[in-house]
Amino acid sequence: MDFNDSPAEAAYREKARAWLVEAAAAHRAEHGEPKANTPEHMAAAKAWQARKAAAGYACITWPAAVGGGGGTPIESVIFGQEEGKAGVAYGYFTIGLGMCVPTVMAFADTDTKKRFVSPAVKGEEIWCQLFSEPAGGSDVAALRTRAVKDGDDWVINGQKVWTTGAHYSDFGILLTRTDPDVPKHKGLTMFWIDMRDPAVECRPIHQMSGGREFNEVYFSDLRVKDSQRLGEVGQGWQVALVTLMNERLAVGGAAGPNYREVMELARALPGEDGPALSNDAFREKLADWFVASQGLKFTRFRTMTALSRGQTPGPESSIGKIISANQLQDLANTAVEMQGEYGILTGPEAVAGAAFQQSLMWAPGLRIAGGTDEILKNIIAERVLGLPGDVRVDKDVAFKDMPTGR
């Protein structure tokens, strides 16, 4: 029971760290520290990815033959930790390399793989995942985007939603309905598409938090070749499951202030009787947040241990988002209420740069994105504890006959 690397892990970490020190310095010299969401930032990200790929630090667990590092999962985790410490991590490639390209690798023909995998590893092309729809939500397979065969092509019409990075992506994997006359899961087919096609339109979604980080994507008579199909016609759900299996690894913890920041706040703010930090009710909450945060941190360590031992991590990692998203909402709200009437302010004069107010407006989204609280509890109950799934009334009904309320 300790936190030390094995000798092999320590050696890898040392090597990675040494490379990172030099590479990060060279990278910064070339690109500086561009602002997020600028073309310069994207260019820097692509350059960094290329640099990593050249050194075998991109897609560490993938074979060297496709441009990966030929390493182990624990090496990938170790590199990620050190990369984080070096302060040069970019998020643009997470979904593509974590979910989309593995799907391409699993289902595309040799030429297609040759065409796409290596450029993606090197950061030359970015991918997005086009599954969610307004009609889908938690029930992903209820999607309605139609693909209709027309000669050797397919013609696609419909709408996707909550697509991360759609506006800066070059390609996407797209789940469509090709047969509405069979039950929901049986009439789906997966394609890869070119996001620059004029028949594809991205519109940013205005979120309750005020930001526009996600997109709606509309398809108006988008033509794709049958060779862009991933998997058989009608087998789209099986293909999607492969994509989604990789999702857990791609979704990180909740960003935002934690117990440390709210403790600092409470130390500084006046309460009824001394600093707010002296209030016992707040102190109990603080203890609970600390304990939960530590619990998540050490649960990640347990996952890493399994990787380090060459085992598949257990289901314990699925508890992360349920705890962190709810905790962020509670913590942010407590921090805002602690400020009193002043807590309403979000402008330049706001406390801590309005970080708590921003978290308060983000947290509701975190409780929904990547699986709602309720869906995640279903997953724990069913996949971890082995309890039965809910009664399914949609298994044997043709999709077009399913009740939808519209």
């Binding site: 029930d139 602690m338 009437e341 709602t372 309320g405």
Partner: protein, 377 residues
């Protein structure tokens, strides 16, 4: 036993709902939300004045309708339900109520008719910075009838004509009426979590200040004012919480997942049942608050029940509205997180209403202190 709105009060409430349904649909709220230059909806404010609501509880002698406080509670409930973007709370629950309770006859005559007529917007200027304002930290001060200092934030401070300001005079805290349209007042509009309500920084430099209530009694006066406001705010919160439950229920009955409406899944059903339970607890406490508030206006020395009843009403309503607002977003799923769906109007307002007039935590402390006093007596 007659612990409910009377038939007349129900009629008033129904009429208010109809009126606001026509004059204050979400589009009107969004008109203020989306335009940084607007802090309230002036046409709605004028229409509300015309309805007589601003003077509902103001005596007829001062230009009001002379109704009871329960009638005002009924209006508040509907305003909360509609997330009305108007300075009703600052003007009616706080300024008018404070002047009626603590003002001189001259002050009543000067202020109440103008409130009733919709000519005067009020504000309460207490806060000077983040956290609890302890008496020793109070820095605004009045000397020779002139106020100096900075108040931040002041809800509706950017549009108010008159503010009640807490400031030291002769080393002791007092309350003062300040004409914000006069000299020595600077205002800056500030950004806030709930853009449908205005917030400002007020800087005073020798503004004319007239004492409200007894000298040196500022702390007690603030508490007395907040006790009254808490009951009325609780009704606004309750109205908002009810609307959140309704929206969530409607969505859950219309949205399908896995071939069934999501309202048929126990996780959603029990979440909505939890909302219902909290809302009913809030309603019952709010009713008692309404009774106590009304009683306090009818008795010479106020109602001894008011502090406890107001605290309980405020605590229950704050809890119910926060829970309903955040879980209503959750029930709406991804749609709930968009700007276009109305959930966030309530999510924002629930925070605004919990932050004005003292956070729930402070009210819990006040409640227990009152219980200790009672229990000791």
């Amino acid at each position: 036993m007659d612990f409910d709105y009377s038939d007349d009060q129900k009629f008033l409430k129904d009429e208010a709902r109809k009126f606001l349904g026509g004059r204050c649909p979400p589009a009107v709220v969004r008109g203020v939300l989306d335009d940084p230059a607007r802090s309230y909806d002036a046409p709605l404010w004028a229409a509300v004045a015309e309805q007589g609501w601003l003077g509902a509880a103001i005596p007829e002698a001062h230009g009001g309708l002379g109704l009871g406080r329960v009638e005002l509670c009924a209006i508040a409930e509907e305003l909360g339900r509609a997330v009305a973007p108007i300075p009703f709370a600052s003007t009616v629950y706080i300024l008018a109520e404070a002047v009626m309770a603590h003002g001189t006859e001259a002050q009543k005559a000067a202020i109440l008719p103008r409130v009733a007529a919709g000519e005067l917007i009020g504000a309460l200027a207490l806060s000077e910075g983040p956290g609890v304002l302890t008496p020793s930290a109070l820095s605004a001060r009045v000397e020779g009838g002139k106020l100096s200092g900075v108040k931040i934030p002041v809800t509706d401070g950017d549009i108010a004509h008159v503010a009640i300001v807490l400031a030291n005079e002769g080393g002791r805290p007092g309350l003062f009426l300040v004409d914000l349209t006069g000299p020595g007042v600077k205002r800056e509009t500030l950004e806030s979590l709930d853009p449908t309500r205005g917030v400002a920084r007020l800087s005073f430099d020798g503004a004319a200040a007239e004492r409200l209530g007894a000298a040196g009694e500022g702390v007690d006066l603030v508490q007395a004012i907040l006790d009254r406001a808490a009951v009325l705010l609780a009704f606004e919160q309750l109205g908002g919480a009810d609307r959140c439950l309704e929206m969530a229920k409607e969505y859950a009955l219309g949205r399908y997942a896995f071939g069934r409406v999501i309202g048929g899944y126990q996780a959603i059903k029990h979440k909505l049942a939890d909302m219902y339970v909290k809302n009913e607890v809030a309603r019952s406490n709010a009713y008692y608050g309404a009774w106590a508030l009304n009683a306090s206006t009818l008795q010479e020395n106020g109602a001894p029940e008011l502090p406890t009843a107001a605290a309980a009403a405020r605590i229950a309503a704050s809890e119910a509205f926060w829970f309903a607002a955040k879980e209503s977003v959750q029930v709406h799923g991804g749609m709930g997180f968009t700007w276009e769906v109305d959930c966030h109007l309530y999510y924002r307002r629930s925070r605004q209403l919990s932050l004005v007039a003292g956070s729930p935590r402070l009210w819990k402390e006040r409640l227990v202190s009152e219980l200790e006093k009672k229990n000791a007596a």
